[in-house]
């Protein structure tokens, strides 16, 4: 039955990609849509309020600076909200807020939520005021997601244009992403979540008299305001510590399925948007199929690892796959699907504890994090992740067959190659040194309070990979609310967001300025299955070259160790 669920999931993602992709193209190109009558006046009002001339366009440099300035401003606001949350009115009572909101935790969280990482070094229900969750975190889930989509739009325009000095207007893209995409979908989706049982209230934590005569206190809050947009904006940080495993956050298999679709459909559709805007629709589908192939491969491996009867519990006469850290309503199928979707799409909204996954079950999400979110990826950011991977493939392919490297009519000259290579090396350059430092110093090893050995190493590698990918998932056995981890993970999050976006936008700017090359017999066609296979192979090859040694020390060593 779970295979049917996986199949239906992929069918919906692929089926909605075309219509949604064309809709996103209209949003991107400021063309007419059905929502214009309602949203047009709000859009115009926001431009007036912000003092934005929507017809003015920006160079790649100015576009990036706006993206950066906006992110910085959001981070400052969120930092202030978190730091001064104790003066915010409303619940929960101070007695339940047992995690102190230190300066380093507030700064880490501010960076985390403004970069769509939503890495959470705290547990929501015992750290945050309701109003801090709403005014602080809900807002950032929207804004960081929309800013990412804006950058994705600009990147697509860069490829589509020729001899253009500009790639769009950040404020226009941001506001249109919010109004035409995130807000309406989030409103509908959040209402569905409430219908399914996700609470939306501001009442104090409820004390109940249990059937056996005891008492239990149950956390409450405006949970539904956060839980849908966290997925739609590919952020992922949950209202509660257990995130998507919490029955209030994710009460039914349907809410989970809907959340996984919310994560995936927009990033998948953006490939169709890309193909449409550059007039190479098949090239967009080829990239989408590369993603689907990687996705299915990960799903199969993770599914095998988790559904097998855990060899560690042999002799205990327990029947079934690995249910430690998983919820009955999801079973292993939904947990695996969620692990694969969330690790791919830059969204840390896990619904089971990945730290209790089998070594090969952890290996799958870890690889997806390290590959840099090329499968679907973050909202907007995913489109340049996969195009960058394709460009590396074009470069390698071009070297092999002796053709001029070009992609979608754009020449990959030496300057472009430099940006692409730097982009491809950014993740290993950040994740591997940070991991090395963390395992070398006491402050880093002090985080290993739950597991040790290869699993402990995996926890640390996973943490930096997750932050660099702006994913936010965690192997939660790692105790990460320390100055060391709050600081170092913030570095990874910032580079993963702004470093990669800077390179992508710089490249988009160069592409926009180029002429479009005519397609000749010497052009490596980018819309064939063979090209898809080239990209697929490149992703795995580059990933393996960069990370195999680290993976061998973590999940692979753990897996081999248990069979000895």
């Amino acid at each position: 039955m779970r295979w049917l669920e996986y199949a239906v999931f992929l069918a919906i993602v692929l089926g909605s990609a075309q219509p949604l992709g064309l809709y996103l193209a209209r949003v991107c190109q400021r063309e007419r849509t059905v929502l214009d009558a309602v949203l047009g006046p709000i859009e115009a009002m926001l431009y007036r309020l912000l003092g934005v001339n929507p017809d003015q366009e920006m160079s790649a440099g100015v576009y990036f600076m706006c993206f950066l300035l906006f992110g910085l401003g959001c981070a400052i606001v969120l930092f202030l909200v978190l730091t001064f949350q104790r003066w915010l009115p409303g619940g929960p009572a101070d007695a339940y807020l047992t995690t102190p909101m230190t300066v380093d935790l507030a700064a880490n969280t501010a960076v985390s939520f403004t970069t769509t990482t939503t890495w959470q070094a705290y547990g929501g229900e015992n750290t945050l005021r309701y109003l801090a969750q709403v005014v602080g975190l809900v807002a950032q889930n929207f804004l960081a997601g929309a800013a990412g989509l804006a950058v994705g739009f600009a990147f697509i325009r860069g490829i589509a244009r020729e001899r253009s000095a500009t790639i769009g207007n950040f404020w226009v893209d941001l506001i249109r992403s919010l109004l035409w995409v995130l807000l309406p979908l989030a409103l509908v989706g959040s209402l569905v979540l409430i219908w399914q049982g996700v609470p939306l209230n501001m009442t104090p934590y409820v004390s109940v008299h249990t059937l056996e005569g005891g008492t239990q206190t149950i956390a409450q809050g405006p949970v539904a305001a956060l839980e849908f947009i966290k997925n739609l904006g590919t952020n992922g940080g949950g209202f509660f510590n257990a995130n998507g495993a919490h029955p209030y956050a994710n009460p039914t298999p349907f809410t989970n399925f809907l959340g996984m679709l919310a994560i995936t459909v927009l990033p998948a559709s953006l490939l169709i948007t890309l193909g449409h805007i550059v007039h190479r629709p098949r090239a967009g589908w080829v990239l989408l199929m590369v993603m689907v192939a990687l996705f299915i491969a990960g799903l199969v491996v993770c599914d095998r690892a988790e559904t097998a009867s855990p060899p560690q519990f042999a002799g205990l006469h327990v029947v079934g796959g690995n249910m430690e850290g998983k919820e009955v309503r999801f079973g292993i199928g939904d947990s695996v699907l969620t692990a694969v979707v969330t690790s791919n799409a830059s969204t840390g909204s896990y619904n089971s504890m990945h730290d209790s996954f089998q070594p090969l079950g952890v290996l799958v999400p870890l690889i997806f994090l390290l590959l840099g979110e090329v499968v679907f990826g973050g909202l907007g950011t995913g489109v340049y992740s996969i195009v960058m991977a394709a460009l590396v493939g074009v470069f390698l392919g071009g070297l092999m067959v002796g053709r001029t490297p070009e992609y979608l009519g754009k020449r990959i000259g030496s300057a472009e190659t430099r940006w692409i290579a730097l982009y491809a090396l950014m993740t290993p350059m950040v994740v591997l040194p940070l991991t090395s430092v963390a395992v070398a110093v006491n402050a880093g090893r002090a985080g290993l309070v739950t597991n040790s050995g290869p699993r402990g190493f995996t926890e640390i590698l996973f943490a930096y990979a997750s932050c660099m990918a702006n994913n936010g998932q965690t192997l939660a056995g790692l105790s990460a609310d320390t100055v060391f981890y709050n600081g170092t993970t913030a570095i990874a999050m910032l580079v993963g967001r702004y470093g990669l976006a800077a390179l992508a936008l710089a490249l988009a700017g160069r592409f926009a300025a180029q002429r479009r090359l005519a397609t000749t017999a010497g052009t490596l066609p980018s819309d064939t299955p063979a090209f898809g296979a080239l990209v697929f192979g490149t992703i795995l090859l580059v990933g393996a070259l960069c990370f195999f040694a680290s993976l061998a020390l973590g999940p692979i060593a753990e897996s081999l160790g248990q069979s000895l």
Partner: protein, 226 residues
Amino acid sequence: MTDTNQALERTAVPVRLRRARLGEQLRPAILGVVVLTLLTGCGFPLLLFAIGPSLFPHQASGSLLRRGGLVIGSKLISQEFTRPEYFQPRPSAAGGGYDGTSSGGTNLGPNNFRLRNGAAGFAGIRQLAEEYRQNNNLATGTPIPIDAATRSGSGLDPDISPANAALQIPRIARARGLSEGVVAQLVTNHTTGRQFGFLGNPRVSVLELNLALDQLPNQATPSRLR
């Protein structure tokens, strides 16, 4: 080439003439942060509060269950049951166990010695499985469903598998002086199938089932039941 030119006409107005300069962006940046934070952090939640709780008041307030005017729990949140006359939920790692204000799992890796064998003050899967068999009068080595001996991700998993519930039926029937058939029928009535026929796993909601158990007629009523 013509294709591209058409695309350009659509997307790019004579852009070189009206390029935005960096110096002009500070005002939209500052105002954008403030205005859009208000829109998404206040406007959106207010709109949701205006619609959601009026459409779904029970769910919005936490799916709380009442008996005799007293709130006895939430349909969605597992609570502790230790007495033989109640179905027992999965073991919990939320706080000190079933703590509704401190969700979470063990986060122990499957190869972690403690997960299988336990430690001081922490029951491993071996011990949890043995206790489950003792509580339910099952012979040593009787296979039991794994959800009965593992902790969920949230520690608040309200459900157990139908197989887990089935193994507890004889104990419940004996403790309440009911026939196993009656209890089994109740379990069947409280088993939720896959959602829309294909999503998730079949499951039994423990708290709702136990509430219904207390309402069954003709049972050897334990004193505290109303």
